[in-house]
Subunit: 301 residues, 2 copies
């Protein structure tokens, strides 16, 4: 599981910081999460192959999370894309993109499929044989979803020595990988644990931005391996954070602790602070395993 | 008259090139012309004061000329703007921006005035005591206008020595600056040319992008001091240029020659060529005074 931060700063633009966008590589997918202005240039800078992006998840319709989407969709056309592109985001996203394409008398020469979200409840929005994606409804000024990405358990690994020892026929291997026991011809039952090894633990990632402090998400992200949680402000600016429905580093850490996550990645920093290390210091007082996102930073989990 | 090129490359984004946007400083105005994605970051990089921009001119609604506008409008709000902002562009621009603001439950805390354009004829769209702006209808795939910026003639300059010599009363000075002769008390008439100097010649600038080769614009831009004319392609790719309704460097130079302009600035280059010097070489064979736009380049005219 690899996470590339394309941008992780709050809205006010500066020369050297980018608004929210990130790429999650999981189970051979390359999921683009949010798409602030300039995302396509950030994709280039970080050498992400445009053609590998087939699913884009948009948390909410504030500009710093989606004003890069129209340009990216246009660029896909210029690059001769033919494959379907799936966009998941709040209702209205289809109307906005369609209007912008219409005004430019533009078109996409590839199928563009919108999956508009309206539910205030968590819901499954993508699933294949290896991974699932569901929403994590957040508490922001407008309708906003986080996203929970979860690998499905892989097949168990065959214990080659054990199956040889019991002379088990190949025909049983698929069942063994699925966790089933095997009955030998002499009547003995060999338990699956003797014939196979545990697969690698499925990994999971939760993206939660933008949101105020919202413990309601805890059951939805419980034990997630990596939680990206916004921390726009420090605790000293908690009045601002309440007013704008953003979170502080302290609050992000509280959520991480309550949900017993493996690791907390902070981001969506206001550009008012001198150093983003301040966010880490504040969060670490509550939760130990803290990482700081930064534009261009790559995490391998 | 100062022209800052924020971006001057055609649509396909690269790490180091920006789509169309430029700032024209003329008669204390700071006019923003087109606003491709990333314009606000380019404004920062080039240290242009956001607060000095009060008028934005959008040539057409292709993304590489206006996908930076929604973000810029949002940023003005974050920066606490109070002054009116005027946007001139094709019909539809108001609907697009309004929808994007509405979806984000955003607002502007300053008056945002749209001046939507639909006329296929040239028209005056801005005028004050010092400068006028009119449209230059172009020939592109969708409704597109160039813009012609023209200083008004300044007042004549008082010849301080001459008025002293004739002992002319201060009450006449304003008339002298306006070009009037003065009748002395002894009946003699002193011609204005003896009492004042010519003011500096009014300057003018024409922005013509995007467009195919379109000699119909020649009368509209005749004798302009500086013509920015797109040259997406070289003559060797004229088939492409005809198909996409863009111009070649050769065609831009032909227009410059026909209109007897002072100087030709080329831009809107396709990124397919190894060096933009090729554009200059091609144009100079037809028209001598050629400049190459480039991102971040500043021209003082």
């Amino acid at each position: 599981m690899k996470l590339t931060i394309l941008g992780c700063y709050a809205a006010t633009p500066r020369t050297l910081t980018s608004p929210t966008s990130q790429v999650l590589e999981i189970c051979n997918h390359m999921f683009l999460i949010d798409c602030g202005e300039g995302t396509q240039v950030q994709l280039r800078k970080n050498k992400v192959k445009f053609s590998r992006i087939n699913h884009i998840f948009i948390s909410h319709l504030h500009g710093d999370h989606f004003f890069g989407l129209p340009g990216l969709i246009s660029t896909f056309r210029l690059l001769g894309r033919k494959k379907e592109l799936h966009i998941y985001g709040p209702k209205g996203i289809k109307e906005a993109i369609s209007l912008l394409l219409k005004l430019g008398d533009s078109w996409t020469n590839y199928p563009l499929k919108f999956h508009e979200l309206t539910s205030p409840e968590p819901q499954s929005i993508f699933e294949d044989e290896k991974v699932s994606v569901s929403t994590v409804p957040l508490d922001h000024r407008i309708y906003t979803n986080g996203f929970f990405f979860k690998e499905k358990p892989a097949e168990r690994k065959l214990n080659v020595e054990a199956v040889a020892k019991y002379k088990i026929n190949k025909a049983y291997f698929q069942n063994i990988k699925k966790g089933k026991d095997v009955q030998l011809e002499d009547g003995r039952t060999i338990p699956n644990t003797e014939l196979s090894f545990d697969p690698p633990k499925p990994k999971s990632y939760a993206f939660c931005s933008d949101t105020g402090y919202y413990p309601e998400i805890v059951p939805l992200i419980k034990h997630v391996d990596v939680l990206y949680h916004e921390s726009t402000f420090l605790d000293s600016d908690s009045k601002l954070s309440i007013k704008t429905k953003h979170a502080t580093a302290k609050e992000a850490a509280k959520i991480a602790k309550l949900a017993a996550v493996g690791r907390l990645v902070l981001g969506h920093y206001s550009t008012r602070y001198k150093s983003i290390d301040l966010f880490r210091e504040e969060a670490e007082a509550i939760f130990k395993n803290v990482e700081l996102a930064d534009d261009g930073k790559v995490f391998e989990f």
